[in-house]
């Protein structure tokens, strides 16, 4: 079963607005990562937050992590039409021997209208 559950499944906003996506997971993690996928393409890594971090920023991206609630959120500020894509959270478990295996959520489809 999928570790990550993302919410909402789809989000439509106007350019300039902020977009917030949420991710919940079930088991203890080493870190949580967010990826972006443009239509029909491979995934691109956006940002990683470790289990001992609460918030991280990268450009217009802000990620929070609440390990007590097993949840994370991705905020994209001042969105642009080019941000239109699917966004996935992925959890990296604690098992060293699993070779970096990630468990992906089902994704949030973001549409930013010009």
């Amino acid at each position: 079963s999928q570790q990550g559950e993302e919410d909402p499944q789809a989000l439509s906003i106007q350019e300039g607005e902020n977009a917030t996506m949420n991710c919940s997971y079930k088991t203890s993690i080493n870190n949580l990562q967010w990826y972006r996928q443009n239509s029909g393409r491979g995934l691109v890594h956006l940002i990683l937050i470790r289990s001992n971090e609460r918030e991280k920023h990268s450009g217009r991206l802000r990620v929070t992590l609440d390990t007590s609630k097993k949840s994370s959120s991705l905020l994209i500020t001042a969105s642009r039409a080019a941000d239109t894509a699917s966004y996935f959270c992925a959890t990296d478990g604690l098992n060293y021997n699993q070779g970096g295996k990630l468990i992906f959520g089902q994704g949030t489809e973001l549409s930013v209208k010009p």
Partner: protein, 115 residues
């Protein structure tokens, strides 16, 4: 820049055919992964390999096998393709555990249709 390439962007095969999907990475990564992506189901891990000639089953290995004879190449094999294997297949690679980067680098994907 890390580059992960996949042998085909689009592939159409017939039921019962043996299908090979190839993935090559150019950054000397130890770990490699094969996922399939289906609408509403997200990415599901088929197999992964943490080193040459090593492989581990993922969440949905049935109907698939893999081969990793060289560090840079990880092949996914559909022994006898079936229509329920129609999907987008994504390959990824990563430095080994303990390396400076935990992120996975993805190839562009192969959209496979089995008729």
């Amino acid at each position: 820049d890390v580059k992960v390439t996949q042998s085909s962007r689009y592939l159409v095969k017939r039921t019962g055919e043996k299908v090979f999907l190839e993935c090559v990475q150019d950054m000397d990564h130890e770990n490699m992964f094969w996922y399939r992506q289906d609408p509403g189901l997200g990415l599901r891990l088929i197999y992964f390999s943490y080193d040459v000639k090593m492989k581990e089953k993922g969440d949905i290995p049935e109907g698939y096998s893999v081969s990793r004879e060289k560090k840079e190449r990880f092949s996914l094999i559909l022994e006898s393709a079936s229509t329920n294997q129609t999907s987008m297949y994504l390959c990824a690679s990563r430095l080994g555990p303990g390396g400076p980067s935990y992120e996975q680098y993805f190839g562009p994907g192969t959209r496979l249709t089995v008729t």
